[in-house]
């Protein structure tokens, strides 16, 4: 409720803003030329307004106007609000001739807007539906029923229909028949989507339908229809009498049963304009089906069927044979080019066959079809075939044969090309042939264009590399090992960098680290002095080791740690005594010149170890 109220406020603001802007009108007529029986659409777009009076359509003798509907647009572009109303009219001619739609006026607020005159040409009756030879299935009542309980006044009884237009009703198995498939959709209905039409029954196939059919409008029995036309082709797959029809599905948007929930604004805004926003619609699937045509499908006659007949049915021509070279060495390839053009089932058109293959080595031909219509019924198919003369006895490229069935004359036809003279040289003269030079074989020759299609083999290479490695690096373990070295470097640097940053951010950690390193250093010095039996260095290092350890554990400066501070600690008497003894002996050796035996140095090492362990344990 609240959001709807806000929406009305928004619309009010929009209307105010739009009315304040410049208004203008544009008119368009689509198409500008129609046949009698068809209709055109007149679009009147009034921009820069949120409301206006209905357009005043003048009377034009010979034309009738029918109001289809209107739509309102509001847009924000780069912060600027634009909007307008579009009025749609159907223009239906009652006679042929050149017409001019005079000015149309619209009252928008205080302004009177005028359109420019529009020309409309109406030709004679459309021949699409009056084709004398065509067999037409008229739009039929759709299988789906019109939705019930709808208030839409334009809602018709018919939804749509399908129409098949065939040039004839007797044809042969495999023959491709150009067919127009027209789908009529009621213009008064709102259609969400339509599926592609398909043939009913299993006796026929249809060429692939494009997703962009031809669009037009038609009036049938006074009712306007949207018409979608596919120009396609059908073919029968089995002989006999069969019914040919088409079907398709479509989804309509229809008003849901019941009115929207009652609200305080229902009376105030009971206008079709607001139905666009609030009317709830639901989708309804309907199926459409054409009336079926009885078609007689004849089998191809077995009498007179050529041996090389591949199933091609239609009217074809065979262009003269083109040979890439009139002179060749035996063993050298020659390209034959042929083209078949006309109308029919080109998917069954195969390359013309050589009437004589003696002393010729042939490769399978390649074909390419270029249609000239959207159904793939008319066009031309070109073939390339490589042929190698194996002997100088070959004097010509023999005629090529192509056979097809002509349904108009009900007989098989075989077309032939003329034989083309060919001068075949013995193989020894191969090098004298005008083959494309190899850049290796002939350094002076210009290089071939990058996109040029080769017409012959490039001749042999005359020099070769001494050696070439066939190792695949991806399979070599050393390659992956080499790749892991940079990773180890990176990981090492990353680890060191992490440690460095950690210490920079934590001074206590850095001090502990340095102290630990100092203890290790002094211990190593002490051990070295012991081995060298240097008492002074030994006791100096031993004292520093203990001082570093004590300083680290007690949080004081290691150099200034004295015996008095040892006494203040709540350590065991044994530990204190050991420390006192070490310090006293060290001072005596360092400052009084006391001499210590080498054996005594050995005895002091476990004492220092005990002190360090005791400090760690008693903390």
């Amino acid at each position: 409720m609240k959001s709807r109220f806000l929406f009305f406020i928004f619309l009010g603001i929009v209307a105010f803003r739009l009315d304040a802007s410049d208004a203008r009108i544009t008119a368009s007529l689509e198409p500008a030329e129609i046949a009698l029986g068809q209709s055109a659409q007149l679009n009147l777009m009034v921009e820069g307004v949120s409301s206006s009076s209905p357009p005043n359509i003048p009377n034009v003798p010979g034309l009738e106007f029918r109001f289809i509907g209107q739509s309102t647009q509001i847009q924000f572009i780069n912060g600027t609000m634009t909007g307008g109303i579009t009025y749609l009219f159907q223009v239906m001619p009652v006679q042929a001739g050149d017409f001019t739609l005079p000015e149309i006026t619209v009252q928008a607020g205080a302004e009177v807007l005028k359109t420019l005159p529009l020309p409309l040409k109406v030709t004679g009756p459309s021949d699409a539906r009056s084709n004398a030879g065509a067999h037409v299935v008229a739009p039929s009542t759709p299988a789906g029923q019109a939705p019930q309980n709808t208030s839409d006044p334009d809602f018709g009884d018919q939804i749509g229909g399908i129409q098949l237009i065939l040039p004839k009703r007797d044809f042969y198995v495999g023959e491709l028949i150009p067919t127009d498939l027209k789908v009529y959709l009621n213009r008064g209905l709102e259609i969400a989507r339509v599926s592609l039409p398909m043939l009913s029954g299993n006796a026929f196939t249809i060429s692939k339908l494009g997703d962009k059919p031809e669009r037009s409008n038609e009036i049938i029995d006074g009712k306007p229809w949207h018409v979608l036309t596919w120009h396609t082709a059908v073919a029968a797959v089995k002989a006999g009498e069969h019914d040919l029809g088409a079907k398709m599905g479509c989804t309509l948007l229809v008003a849901a049963n019941g009115r929207r929930p009652m609200s305080p604004f229902d009376d105030a805004f009971d206008d079709p304009f607001f139905d666009r926003f609030f009317q709830h619609k639901e989708e309804r699937d309907v199926a459409m089906r054409s009336k079926e045509l009885r078609v007689r499908v004849l089998p191809l006659p077995s009498e007179g069927r050529p041996v090389d007949f591949s199933g091609a049915i239609g009217q074809f021509q065979l262009n003269p044979l083109f040979v890439s070279s009139k002179e060749a060495a035996s063993g050298d390839p020659v390209t034959l080019k042929t083209t078949i053009l006309g109308t029919g089932n080109f998917d069954r058109v195969e390359a013309p066959q050589l009437s004589n293959k003696q002393n010729l080595k042939t490769y399978p031909p390649s074909g390419k079809f270029e249609p000239t219509d959207e159904a793939g019924y008319a066009g031309q198919k070109g073939f390339d075939q490589i042929v190698i003369p194996l002997s100088p006895e070959v004097k010509e490229i023999p005629p090529l044969n192509f056979s097809y069935f002509d349904p108009e004359h009900k007989q098989y036809v075989t077309l032939n090309t003329q034989a083309v003279p060919l001068h075949v040289l013995p193989g020894q003269q191969n090098r004298a042939l005008p083959v494309i030079p190899s850049p290796v074989a002939d350094h002076g020759a210009p290089r071939r264009s990058k996109h040029a299609e080769p017409t012959d083999l490039v001749s042999n290479k005359l020099e070769m590399e001494r050696s070439v490695s066939h190792r695949i690096l991806a399979r070599e373990p050393w390659f992956w090992a080499a790749g892991s070295l940079p990773l180890l470097l990176t990981l090492g640097v990353a680890g060191m960098s992490w440690q460095r940053r950690r210490m920079e951010n934590n001074p206590d950690l850095a001090a502990a680290f340095l102290s630990k390193r100092a203890v290790q250093l002094q211990w190593e010095k002490m051990e070295k002095a012991r081995r060298e039996q240097k008492a002074i260095e030994f006791f100096e290092a031993a004292k520093h080791v203990v001082q570093e350890k004590l300083g680290r554990r007690t949080g004081t400066h290691s150099e200034s740690f004295t015996l008095d501070e040892v006494d203040e600690r709540s350590w065991s008497a044994d530990l204190k005594n050991q420390i006192r003894e070490l310090f006293r002996t060290a001072d005596a050796v360092l400052y009084s010149g006391q001499v210590v035996d080498a054996k005594d140095l050995e005895a002091w090492v476990p004492v220092v170890k005990n002190i360090l362990r005791g400090v760690d344990d008693e903390g």
Partner: protein, 242 residues
């Protein structure tokens, strides 16, 4: 003294082998020019089997096989030559010609595949290794340096280069599992058994990608997406396994 004699004899042996290879190569070319394609094929095949499977030897072997009417094997040799020398216009031209002559549709190469095929797999691998070294170097500098922006940018660029090279190598490595149909009457079978019905005939010279093997059959996929079973005798891998 003994070492010098040994080195001298090694040098002489190598020289003699190279001379033999040159002679065999010239003999193959002479036989080809005289339209003696079987002799030419034998000469080039001997060279290839003696460790001289260079792009030139494979190219000439392909020419001789094509002239003798064996488009399937010719296409195989051109593909092998192109694997080692991917930008050689002669090999490309003859491969295209042989495919057309053999009725084999050209593989529809997308833009990226064309780029990837300008280098060999080893070329892409070397480039990728170089890019990997750069990535690690810039990463190490990024971690160590206090001015990280510059090294971070260079590291990102080198990671992009590495991704490009890895993608190129990946695309080229597809050929390691690709074979060329050489049998004239090959077809894709529904099941990996001898009397299985055939799904689709395959033309000699067509590329097939191997997927898996079962017993005496290999499951393959053609360039146009058709799948089925073939025997290993019906095709040869472009890059023979070790």
């Amino acid at each position: 003294m003994k070492v010098e004699v040994f080195l001298l004899s090694c040098g002489l042996c190598a020289g003699a082998m190279a001379q033999n290879a040159d002679e065999l190569f010239s003999r193959g070319n002479a036989a080809y020019s005289s339209s003696k394609y079987v002799e030419a094929i034998q000469a080039f095949q001997s060279l290839a089997s003696e460790g001289h499977a260079t792009p030139e030897v494979l190219f000439n072997l392909g020419n001789a096989q094509f002239r003798s009417g064996d488009a399937g094997h010719a296409i195989l040799q051109y593909e092998r030559a192109l694997w080692m020398s991917p930008r050689d216009p002669d090999v490309k031209a003859n491969l295209q010609f042989a495919r057309r002559a053999g009725g084999v549709e050209d593989a529809d190469e997308r833009g990226w595949q064309k780029v990837a095929r300008t280098l060999t797999l080893n070329g892409w691998m070397w480039l990728a290794l170089s890019a990997w070294v750069l990535v690690n170097l810039f990463a190490a500098l990024f971690f160590w340096s206090r001015n990280r922006r510059r090294w971070g940018f260079l590291m990102t660029v080198s990671v992009g280069l590495l991704a490009f090279c890895v993608a190129g190598a990946w695309e080229r490595s597809v050929d390691l599992k690709t074979g060329i149909v050489t049998a004239l009457d090959a077809s894709l079978k529904v099941a990996p058994i001898e009397n299985s019905p055939s799904l689709e005939p395959v033309t000699a010279g067509m590329r097939v990608r191997t997927k898996k093997s079962m017993g005496a059959f290999v499951y393959v996929e053609t360039a146009d997406g058709k799948r089925g079973w073939m025997t290993p005798a019906q095709f040869e891998l472009i890059i023979p396994p070790k």
